[in-house]
Symmetry: C2
Subunit: 639 residues, 2 copies
């Protein structure tokens, strides 16, 4: 195909630029410069290449568009408005960044139809798009047959300087190059401006050479402000390269058309009213009118939308709970391996992986095939196990992309401590309602000799505090299975595991011990020791705070009733446990290097230590009738 | 200088290899393969180039050695043993990874003399070394005069495949190339093996080309197992390149000498006894003896140590508290800017910066000069302000390196939400007792229109749970100043701010409102509203949990006394506040995009909302005498 310019091209680009200025000005907040600068590349991509179906936004074989520089989201809202997505009538463009609008400050999938992934935190979208491309490649290799190509879509991604500076994009780019993902095309908005000003102040690497080093197809368009034919040809050429991901460096002018074009001033604040008038005059629009779309521009975008309006089937919903599974160091990761093996046979959607800790996380089931380009002879694209390399942050964001595609259930492993490296992606997973399963092994001081650099003390509370994320810390095989069950069954938390339950009941108990994971066993030990001293105990296991919190109050009170004291026991920071207990036993320092058994002694985490602490707690509260924190919380909420 | 082989070279390398096998075998835990493989490059570097003074380990102009692949720490423990560091007699090599030893599972600075930075979490050491190199360059530019070169040391860093896969190393490498740090030399142990096996499964990028793209001097040694002359020449050539950092790719064989050499089997588990005997026989050592160092090897390392034994001055201690300052979105970052400006005049050690948010974080004082290579004409090496680019994780680890050098007080800014990207470095900062100051602006929903992708809800609790880290959330100018004061004054927490205090006292109060940051003002508003209803309030501000917790119990009880109910108010996850309060008011979901004022309404964070909640709390607890959680905690601790 050759490029032929349409009469509506310049007008459409002018419309996008003027709308971007209007949208940000009306909300008096946001980023006009990047959408104005990227308008030509966006219009060229959408008008000549993108196949989507706004009437069936979830059509599974649609091309995916990811705006990794998500602060430029006025651009995607405008494009999707022009395409006719129902969430984006003109009123929504006018409600940009306002309360309860469909046009939040950064794009959120699930919140706004037509937004594939949640972007804005820089670099996330870059890695998401690698996940979207892997998903497509895997489905194509699995289901496409000669003459019946079911999965043929491309993934297009826009990225800015900021994304390319973030380490997560380096991780994702290196992996994408290794995997030879020819279905992924990135357009790099090289506008030479970041918030601190000219990128000369901190970002002077040779980006093209860097991506060549990763094994990408690399090209450039030197006049991204005007050269539509150059943009067209670069994308066309990239599409022809099927064994490498592509990146096209597009030199653009930020805020093109503004009096301040090319300057950081156009990056993160609205243009002034007179400047906007000037922009409109320059582009042949009426300077006195705002939020204007000429009819022929709507018509051109109607044609684009029609291109995708063919018989479709809708994809599965991607609004499913996020889940994290934390396994203890000794046994439960083996239990997890067993469960994963059985699940993989029953659930072909599972797409596993590990950040170079396969043998430690036990995340690879027996008959798994690696997801690799066939030329490597290490696997093929129908494989269901991804070797992520030591790239935790990209792994997290790639899993988000895999889920966003709509046909996979991604699971992947690393040490719990290194989920911290990826927490930027994990919180977006939760915000975006991605069903993503982390297998986070080797928790707390139980990890032993690797020492405090590898022993998470604060990670559990950090994950427990993320809304819409289930952090599980199973104590035995049943809890491992329960965690997977809840993670896999969408929105049916109530019907399955309850997140917390009574393990040892005793109607005459003097104290309740509440714990998770390995420390449940310590509590059981302590019960016997305390019994010898005439102290009667109940034991409660709470493997998952958020699932337990979702249970009816009567159930929660049956688990943690008022009356006698409750003592929490966990080999982590005690912070947060006061919501379930009157006293806390834990570790509020960093760990140390030694065999696990000795560390549990050093940090007072033995059955004897728990018994001694419990005895003290019973004494302190002797004769008092205590209100359960659960009862108190319920009372305090009801007003 | 030309290379001449010494008689002791081969013997020293054999000694290091056999000791590495012995050390890991005795502890039955650890990583023998990498130390065995890196022995020739380590010996060449130490014997021919490194200048250190084991008797004065903190001598400021020593060469810095960073083992970024910290799991190979048997290597550095062995080298430092040979050099005669007092923390590392032979008994300590035999106590590898055991309780309370000086040889923990991964190297910890502050814990073991001669360890420059804490490494193991992959990629951290790489970025630390960039910080060490920046520190040297800055001091040299500031203090060296013709004929009086005070600061001349080099920073040498070993890195493995894993470090290079982590995004943090990409961030740091790109910045180091930009800054043209000719005093930094990395040796890449290219052994083609990671935990999942051959790097062919996930890491096939062209590392040399990637570093050329970053602007580094790049070379390689193809037989790193034996070619000492090649190693020598490569390092020598790298030292001559003074306007670029250098990386030397050294092809080695993991576990060289073992029956399993070249295989992942030698990576993370001890070699078998018979294999170790074979290694010793192969290298001319007695197979039946362990932990042997020939006298001429000790003698050779004595000579190395003597090279650094010249008149020295000791550097300042680097054991100082870590601090984080969180400023609210409107005013306190401006207060921070004022304080920083005054501090910069008084404290030349301050080395500021921001991850491309200078204008938002307000971290750059008025007369600051950028730290830039003079050829850029954007600053010079004596400059005190670093443009980190959008590289939060590297920024965190580089600050750790800056502090590790011993002469600077690093401060740097980003949004609080993006401290999450760097939390892997932040926890090591705390573990290593680095005095590092983060200026983390734009907290919670107060950030407004940027929306939930940028609004931290869970970050405060995550940081509060990190041991040895002060997370401050100041409510006014005094608290901003107090936070800086505590952060800057080593180990004098008691003498300065108390972390929490009574803002509004009322002897007849019906309730205490406890808050931090912006919500302190809401509590003050609520006081007036409640007064109209006949409810009397106290208001307490706790800007820093860990500093408050360090106060005497009498003081803490005077702030949060038993008797009447205590309600916490904070626009974050309520998790953790039960340690100070009977009831909590907060945000346990993600935020949203809108002007801040509207968000505070939507999330029930107005003076009216706080008053309503307080009124309810008073009613629920009417007639009860409550025990302060602070009193309870003290009682429970004393057993």
């Amino acid at each position: 195909m050759t490029f032929s310019k349409a009469a509506s091209d310049e007008k459409a680009i002018a419309t996008i630029r003027c709308l971007a200025a209007d949208v940000v000005a009306k909300s008096n907040s946001g980023h006009p410069g990047a959408p104005m600068g990227m308008a030509p590349m966006a219009h060229t991509l959408f008008s000549r290449f993108m196949t989507v179906n706004p009437a069936h936004a979830k059509w599974i074989n649609r091309d995916r568009f990811v705006l990794s520089n998500g602060h430029a989201c006025a651009l995607i809202y405008i494009l999707n408005h022009l395409l006719g997505y129902k969430d984006l009538p003109m009123e929504q463009l006018k409600a940009f960044r306002q309360i309860d609008s469909k046009t939040p400050g950064h794009p959120e999938t699930g919140h706004t139809e037509g937004i594939e992934v949640t972007t804005g935190p820089l670099g996330q979208g870059f890695a998401n798009s690698v996940g979207l491309a892997i998903a497509q490649a895997n489905l194509a290799a699995t289901f496409n047959k000669d003459g019946f190509p079911l999965f043929t879509n491309s993934t297009y991604m826009f990225t800015g300087d900021g994304c390319l500076q973030e380490g997560i994009s380096s991780e994702a780019a290196s992996l994408a190059g290794h995997l030879k993902l020819g279905n992924l095309i990135a357009l790099y908005d090289d506008n030479h401006i970041s918030i601190d000003g000219d990128t000369a102040c901190s970002f002077t690497e040779d980006v093209e050479q860097r991506f060549l080093a990763y094994g990408w197809h690399v090209s450039h368009v030197l006049d991204g402000d005007k050269d539509l034919e150059g943009l067209y040809k670069a994308i066309e050429a990239a599409k022809k390269v099927t064994d490498k991901p592509s990146i096209i460096r597009v030199k653009t002018t930020i805020g093109f058309g503004s009096k301040q074009q090319g300057l950081a001033a156009t990056h993160g604040a609205p243009l002034k009213a007179d400047d906007i008038e000037g922009v409109k005059a320059k582009f042949g629009m009426n300077p006195k009118e705002s939020f204007v779309v000429p009819e022929d521009v709507y018509a051109a975008y109607k044609q684009i939308a029609d291109r995708g309006a063919r018989p479709t089937r809708s994809g599965p919903s991607s609004s499913r709970p996020t889940a994290t599974t934390a396994d203890d160091a000794i046994a439960s990761r083996k239990l997890s391996e067993t469960v994963l093996g059985k699940l993989a046979d029953a659930i072909p959607e599972l797409l596993g992986g590990s950040a170079d800790l396969t043998g430690s996380n036990l995340t690879r089931w027996g008959n798994a095939v690696d997801f690799q380009h066939p030329s490597t002879q290490l696997g093929d694209y129908s494989g269901k196990y991804i070797r992520y390399g030591v790239r935790e942050h990209a792994m997290g964001a790639i899993m988000n992309g895999l889920d966003a595609y709509g046909m996979h259930i991604p699971t992947a492993g690393t040490f719990l401590n290194f989920v911290s490296y990826a927490i930027g992606a994990v919180r977006l997973s939760a915000l975006s309602h991605h069903r993503v399963i982390w297998v986070a092994t080797h928790d707390s001081i139980g990890l032993g000799e690797d020492g405090p650099t590898h022993q998470p003390i604060e990670t559990a509370i950090a994950l427990r505090a993320i809304p819409n994320l289930m952090f599980w810390r199973p104590a035995d095989g049943n809890e491992v299975s329960g965690a997977y069950l809840v993670a896999l069954q969408s929105n049916s938390i109530e019907k399955t595991s309850k997140g917390g339950y009574v393990l040892v009941e005793n109607k005459d108990a003097d104290i309740t011990l509440v714990a998770s994971g390995s420390e449940v066993a310590l509590c059981n030990e302590a019960v016997a020791k305390l019994s010898d001293k005439g102290i009667k105990c109940r034991v409660v296991s709470i493997p998952c705070f958020s699932v337990f919190d979702a249970q009816p109050i009567d159930y929660r009170l049956s688990v943690l009733p008022s009356g006698k004291p409750i003592l929490s026991v966990e080999a982590y920071s005690t912070l947060g446990w006061a919501k379930y207990s009157h006293a806390q036993h834990g570790i509020n320092t960093f760990g140390a290097s030694a065999p696990a058994k000795e560390l549990f002694k050093k940090f007072k985490m033995t059955g004897d230590d728990v018994a001694a602490k419990a005895q003290h707690v019973v004494k302190v509260f002797e004769g008092q009738t205590l209100v359960s924190p659960v009862e108190l919380e319920a009372k305090l909420l009801a007003y």
